[in-house]
Every structure is written in structure tokens, then in C-alpha cells.
Amino acid sequence: MPKHPTPKLDELESGPWPSFVSDIKQEAVNRIENPNKVEHQIPADCPEDLLGVLELSYNDGETHWKHGGIVGVFGYGGGVIGRYCDQPEQFPSVAQFHTLRVNQPSAKYYDTKYLRAVCDLWERRGSGLTNMHGSTGDIVLLGTQTPQLEEIFFELTHDLDSDLGGSGSNLRTPECCLGPSRCEFACFDTQDICHDLTLSYQDELHRPAFPYKFKFKFDGCPNGCVAAIARADFSLIGTWKDDIKMDHSAVAAYVGGEFAPNAGAHSGRNWGKFDIQKEVVERCPTGCMSWDGSKLRINNRECTRCMHCINAMPRALRIGSERGASIFVGAKAPVLDGAQMGSLLLPFVEVTPPYTEVKDIIEKIWDWWMSEGKNRERLGETIRRLSFQRLLDVTGIKPQAAHVQEPRHNPYMFFKEDEVPGGFERDLEAHRKRHKR
């Protein structure tokens, strides 16, 4: 017999899709029956109270959670998000229900021993409920009480060799794609730089001093499996400088039907014979490909590395050899509104240890944003407010054609005196007589 009747939540279980309600109910039963004799350090029935709060919120049409507070582990300004129920008498087991973010390993490679240890820890010192993983990539441990925080932190750091992730006005937990560990399209070692920057910027991760959150993400190629361009304040997206490598005999094999296009990804339905003209050449966004019935040609100067042709015929076309990354800045994907894609800052940078060139740019951006960014202003908003030109100034990157999204969007060019050979003199007073503010 459940502690709280939950008719509305029960309806969420009726669809064909997996239900988080079923998951919570399963854990509620597991904690009450406790077959493994776990010594629960917080109330065993907290999943049941969690369901009760949620049902109440559905009935009332408003949340019964308060978030935020001074909870945390000593010296850290992030990684713990305080959560409190505003109906503690009705739901005492979730009166405190703090969230912990744990820094996931690069590209989320685990062994089962580690996962069992995390689950055992959370069964004992938390609610047993997890979110694998949060949007930013962390392991999210849902629901514990204040006295458990230091104990959990000690066990995480000493027994599991893990650290808390980022929250608040911090560098958030960096995230990367699988990179060269499993992907032939990777143009740099995403896991290595993700790990390196995580270690290099521990102070920024744990001790908040930014105007708002700041996210790094690393995509090994323009396919963008971690969607860096849409989500990260600072994105590295793999690219190459030279030509796409082509195996003409493999192209012929695709055309002849020997190889399934897209590595067989769309083979669940009969789409007819592979048509290289329609499915590859005419899909090229820059029109830089041609097919004369026997030979595929690519004008690599015009290629923007959209990856479509390589994805369609991976055995015939390969990324080039001069590999590195493009740097994009200023993306954000807030829950409500204001989503913004990243802007290209540097078309090509070599991404090799110790990553000095990348770190140099990051630190210049931080120094600027920390001084001139407004509170709760993401980097992308600061750039929009103070201009991309200002960002180029502070990073020391010269303006180039690749920075221009569309020609003549703004026909006015402003030059400073020191940017023009010989300089110029401007009589501002005379100007203002002719042009009132």
C-alpha cells in the first residue's frame, strides 16, 4: 500500500514509453523491503514522499520545491544544489532533498565496479535515485540531507577517485564526445583535452567568481555529438584544413550497391537504390561536389565540412590529415528562452598537449568577462552587448572574413585611429553640431 495515493502520476505510467514514476516506485519498494540490508542514512521512505510531493504539485499546478541555500562541502562553491520541500510536515522524508553533481569521466566511460560503488553509496547515504546523466553531463545524485554531504564527498574523493561537478557561477563540468576512442571522424583527442582542462581549471570549477555559469564542450568533428555549438560558452569543434580523402573504388561500390549508405543506419526501410546525385551531391550545402556518372569530384576550397557526404559514404570519404578544431563562443541553451548558437572565433587551432594556445584564449576571455560581464549574464550576452569586435580586441584575434555571417548586414565599418596607416583626426565637436545625439 503506497504511503500517498498518486492517481495523476499513475496515469504517466500508462503510455508505451518508460516512466520515471515507475522507476521511483520501484526504488520505493526496494528501500522498504531492503533485501541487501543497507543501513539507510536518510529516511528509507523518501521516494514515497517524493511521489507525494509531485502528485501535490500536479494537483496544485505549482511547485512545492525551494532550491538554493548554503549547503555544500567545505571550500567548494558548487556541486551541491540545496533543495527543500515547502510542505515538510506532510512530506518529512524529503524536507531536505539536496542534489549532488558528480564529475563524470571523459566521454562517460565506466566499468561496472565503479557504477555499483556509486549506486551503493547513494543507496546508503542518499535516496537511491540518480539521473544518468544531467544535461551538462554530470552524474546527478538526487536527494540527500545536509549531514550526509561531507560524508558523501569524503567517500567520493577517497574511495571512488571522483570529484563533484560544477554548479552556480562556476565553470561547469566540461563534457566531450567519444573522440578517437571509438570514432574515425575525430579530429582531436576530445577526452584528453576535456580531462586536461578539468584538472587545469579546478579553481574555476569549484570556487565561483564568474558572472554566471560557463560551459566548455568538445566535439571531435562537425557532427557535434555533444552539441557544443548550441550549448557551450566555449566550444571546440574538430575540423581539418586539407582535402577530404577519397577512395574512388569505394565510391563506385556505394553507387553499385555493394556498401550500404550511412553505414546502414537507414536500412530499416526500403528507400530504393542509392542515388549519389540526389543523396550526396545535391545535398552539399555549398554545391562543391559533382558526379559525372563515373567520378566524384570535390572542390575542397568551397567545402564547409558539414560532414554530410562523409556520413553518407564513410568507406569512400574520410576527414583530411591536417586536423585541429574551430573555436566557437557564446552559445547558450536556457530552459525558457534566449537560446543562442556559438559564434566562430577562430577557424582553426591545433589541439595538441599541453593545449597552450587554447588555454591562452580561454583565459583572455575569462579576464574580460569577469571584469565587464554583468551579473547573470552569459558570455554570449556580453558579446552581444559589448560587440564581437571587443571580443576580438581582448583575445588579440584579427578580424577575418570567416567572422562575417552575412555580407552587408551592417554596412558601417568603424575604424580606430591606430588601425589606419597614418591615423586620422576627428573633430567630435564639429561632428556633434551636425549630428545631434
Binding site: G69, G72, T99, A209, N375, R376
Partner: protein, 76 residues
């Protein structure tokens, strides 16, 4: 308490609120960069003079134990 730390405590005492953005403290040390100011604040957190308050998305600094949050949540 160092001279810098005292300046921060005095700055907070002169305000009618208990939680401050990091940027607020830059005004206390107009000749210094954000990283230097951060070092002063970090030391104050380590010495338990100040503490972090986080909403989850934004973090503020305050004197340890001050403000409603500390009492209201039974954390002080």
C-alpha cells in the same frame, strides 16, 4: 583578519543586504583584477569568515551565518 579581509567585511557592513555577487567586491579593490579579488574571498571562505550561497545556477557570497537562509533552513 588581514587588511583586505577587513575591507570586505566593512563593505558588507555598509550595505543593507547579506548576499553579494562576486562582481560587487570588485568595487572594493578598484586597482586589482578579478583573480586577485577572488584570492581574498577564497581565503575568507577557507577561514570560515564568509560562505557561499548558491541558487543552483548563480552563486553569491555572504558573511557566515548571516541572512535569512542560514536561520530559515536550519543550517546556521
Amino acid at each position: 583578519m588581514t587588511e583586505d579581509q577587513q575591507k570586505i567585511v566593512d563593505f558588507i557592513a555598509g550595505k543593507n543586504k547579506t548576499k553579494f555577487y562576486f562582481n560587487d567586491f570588485l568595487a572594493v579593490f578598484p586597482d586589482r583584477g578579478p583573480r586577485e579579488v577572488k584570492k581574498v574571498l577564497t581565503a575568507m571562505v577557507q577561514e570560515e569568515i564568509m560562505e557561499f550561497w548558491s541558487s543552483g545556477s548563480t552563486t553569491l557570497y555572504g558573511l557566515k551565518g548571516s541572512g535569512k537562509q542560514g536561520q530559515a533552513e536550519g543550517e546556521a
